[in-house]
């Protein structure tokens, strides 16, 4: 990992001029015939390889949706697994075209990294997991605890703020990767493991006895997770942004992976705009008219992707909560496609 970050740093320093003229990401991707997508290193539900070696997860499906929109083939992707601390450098240096790796949208990341967030794929918050045997019911009882955390995330700073704000002491042990942190927690080096709540549920599945561990009720931060692209290429920014909106819109309109062909024949003006049978909205993005059906055919709508990866239909079984559509009690909302 260290070597990777060094190499990309040097690449950045040498300033590969191809990347400087970065206003052509779409063209670069098309010429290459493949989308290069930065994902996590194995977080069930978001990005992890299954037992056959295929990448699965919500973040992975966002990559697939983009590839489907561009190539009409969701398999034309090179997945680049990245640790938390290497992810931005990989994006800056042009090693990846889009970073879809449960990354929290913050002001400083939006401004100083030379990259932009394109939307929110998952509204999350940071929580704590402890062993049941400790009989802890609240994060406020964690005074003097040892806490394992993955370094290079907003988690480290939230943790410091929370304990300071509640006048509690703690010891932090920060590991290079998530797996190392989980392993140290499991071996008893720490009392507490902390990351985003979705991650806690995902990591709990990896433990030897998931039932021996409990996620505490406190959610101590706002963690809107979303994809990122480089500054300076508005067309590519729009494509990534609207790919996610297309998935949300599809759920709102009841377009699913199964009924997409049928729905495409609809006479409703709204449907005609979405499916491109009327107007050329897809072409305005630099894609084709049928971009929405391409996306839904390959990964389904947002709700389907959610259920399949992290929701009721998955091992994680996380409730929709904040991630339900705006008209169903959540805050997932897409601007109109028109």
């Amino acid at each position: 990992m260290k070597r990777v970050s060094l190499v990309v740093t040097l690449a950045l320093a040498a300033g590969l001029s191809a990347q400087a003229a970065s206003a052509q990401t779409l063209k670069t991707v098309k010429d290459r015939g493949m989308l290069s997508c930065g994902v996590g290193q194995g977080l069930p539900g978001f990005s992890s390889p299954d037992d056959k070696g295929n990448w699965t997860g919500l973040d992975v499906d966002v990559c697939r949706a983009i590839a489907a929109a561009v190539f009409n083939d969701a398999s034309k992707i090179k997945f680049v697994p990245l640790s938390a601390k290497d992810r931005f450098t990989a994006l800056q240096s042009g090693e990846i075209d889009v970073l879809s790796r449960n990354t929290t949208w913050t002001l400083s990341r939006d401004t100083s990294l030379g990259a932009n967030f394109t939307g929110v794929t998952y509204y999350d918050g940071q929580g704590f997991m402890v062993k049941k045997a400790l009989k802890v019911n609240s994060a406020l009882e964690l005074n003097s605890a040892s806490v394992c955390v993955q370094q290079g995330t907003t988690t480290e700073q939230n943790l410091a703020d929370y304990f300071k704000g509640n006048n509690m002491k703690y010891e932090v042990i920060a590991f290079g990767t998530n797996d190392e942190a989980v392993k140290a927690y499991e071996s008893g080096r720490c009392d507490v493991f902390t990351t985003d709540v979705s991650g806690l549920y995902a990591d709990r599945l990896k433990l030897a006895n998931p039932a021996d561990h409990v996620v505490l009720p406190e959610v101590i931060s706002k963690e809107p997770l979303g994809p990122m692209v480089r500054h300076g290429d508005d067309q590519w920014f729009d494509i990534v942004k609207w790919t996610l909106y297309a998935m949300v819109t599809a759920e709102e309109l009841g377009i699913t992976q199964k009924n997409v062909d049928e729905m495409a024949k609809s006479d409703k003006p709204e449907m005609k705009r979405v499916f491109g049978t009327d107007g050329n909205l897809g072409e305005q993005l630099g894609l084709t008219k049928d971009w929405v059906s391409r996306i839904v055919k390959s990964v389904g709508n947002y709700g389907e992707a959610f259920d399949r990866n992290v929701g009721a239909g998955s091992k994680l079984g996380i409730a929709r909560g904040l991630n339900a559509l705006w008209n169903k009690g959540g805050i997932q909302y897409a601007p109109p496609i028109r």
Partner: protein, 401 residues
């Protein structure tokens, strides 16, 4: 009319030409100039290009971030640190943690390495086979694997804080590390330190005097009873007069962990242990080679003077072997220092972990931070080499060579 002796033609120009251009003369000099200019141009291009690209992508550049608040915690610091300190402080904390592991690791690696080398050369069959086995086993396994072994397999097998292994109810060993009573200076502390220092200085003077007497008049003076009396007696007297120098803050289990006392974190122990034992295997071979490079006759000559095997090694063989040992030994010291950056795998907060890891990811300023980090390792290595060269020069001088 006096005839002036003819001066030889001035040697200045040819000398200059040779110094600048070597055997090729002026054309060589021009080529060198061109080479340097090309290097300078390439470096300038790299810097300018990087700068332009950073600006074009609106990535923040420069070193202003060093003054910003870090906002995260570190679990081992040799200088006071809290999460409201700046990134500069984080850098210092990480640097000191790296140096701590390196210095202690180098000390133990050298110690173990020397003993294993002597063991391997020993006429004792068992000892020499065990030492040989150690070298072959340790140096042929990857060091990262060994670090993880010490951390996960050995240290994680320790009990949790509530079931600590305790000695006298004041030393506790558990999977959070070793907790020991913390000495706190009291009124008698300063006189005590003075007494210890005085005792040491007098003891050194005494043994030097005894040595001179031995060389000048052949008189053997038994100094060690006096030295012992001084070093123990003087501080004791001070403690009796001024009171005990320190009181101890005994750690006690409070909540999840021990409060009070000092703690050595397991990450530090695992990393130091792994690096020291790993590097020791290489040092052992270097020392063995050094000793074998000294002619067998030296050993025999020493023995014929009636010296014991240990004395022969200490007084005759090792000083000569040091000249062979030193350069590769320096390499091993540098390797150990650089290998300490593997700390990130087990969560030890070294420079690479807290600075090139967390700080880089929080600020996103990869070029600056990787640049600083590389510069620091370069500096540490150069300083280590310089110290070792100085030591080598002193050995060479003392041997008259």
């Amino acid at each position: 009319m006096a005839i002036e002796p003819r001066k030889p033609p001035s040697q200045l120009l040819p000398k200059l030409q040779r110094a600048l251009g070597g055997r090729a003369g002026w054309s060589g000099f021009v080529l060198q100039l061109l080479f340097v200019a090309a290097l300078a141009w390439i470096s300038y291009e790299i810097v300018a290009n990087a700068r332009a690209n950073l600006q074009a992508q609106r990535i923040t550049a420069g070193f202003g971030f060093m003054a910003n608040t870090a906002g995260f915690d570190v679990n081992q610091y040799l200088v006071p640190y809290s999460n409201s300190d700046s990134y500069t402080r984080v850098f210092l904390v990480g640097l000191l943690n790296t140096l701590l592991v390196s210095v202690i690791g180098i000390f133990f690696a050298t110690l173990i390495g020397f003993f294993v080398a002597l063991g391997r050369l020993s006429p004792n069959w068992l000892l020499s086979r065990i030492s040989g086995g150690y070298v072959e086993l340790i140096r042929n396994l990857p060091v990262l694997f060994q670090i993880l072994f010490w951390y996960l397999a050995v240290l994680a097998a320790l009990p949790n804080p509530r079931q600590s292994i305790s000695v006298f109810d004041s030393f506790f060993l558990n999977n959070r590390g070793l907790v020991i009573p913390k000495p706190i200076g009291t009124a008698g502390f300063e006189p005590f330190v003075v007494a210890v220092l005085v005792a040491i200085v007098v003891a050194i003077a005494l043994s030097r005097y005894a040595r001179r007497q031995l060389f000048e008049s052949g008189k053997v003076i038994k100094v060690w009873p006096y030295v012992l009396g001084l070093v123990i007696g003087l501080p004791l007297v001070s403690a009796l007069i001024f009171g005990a120098p320190v009181s101890f803050e005994v750690p006690a289990l409070k909540g999840f962990n021990f409060a009070g006392g000092s703690r050595v974190i397991p990450e530090f122990v695992a990393l130091t242990l792994a690096l020291a034992t790993y590097t020791a295997a290489f040092i052992a071979e270097i020392v063995r080679a050094g000793i074998l490079s000294v002619h067998q006759g030296q050993m025999e000559a020493g023995s014929s003077l009636g010296l014991q095997r240990g004395s022969v090694l200490r007084l005759i063989v090792i000083p000569q072997a040091m000249r062979v040992i030193l350069p590769p030994l320096t390499n091993q010291y540098l390797n150990l220092t650089k290998n300490s950056s593997l700390a990130v795998a087990i969560g030890y907060p070294d420079l690479v972990s807290v600075f090139a890891g967390t700080t880089l990811s929080q600020t996103g300023q990869a070029i600056e931070i990787i640049g600083i980090t590389m510069g620091v390792y370069l500096l540490i290595s150069l300083v280590t080499s310089a110290i070792m060269s100085f030591y080598g020069w002193r050995i060479g001088r003392s041997m008259g060579g």
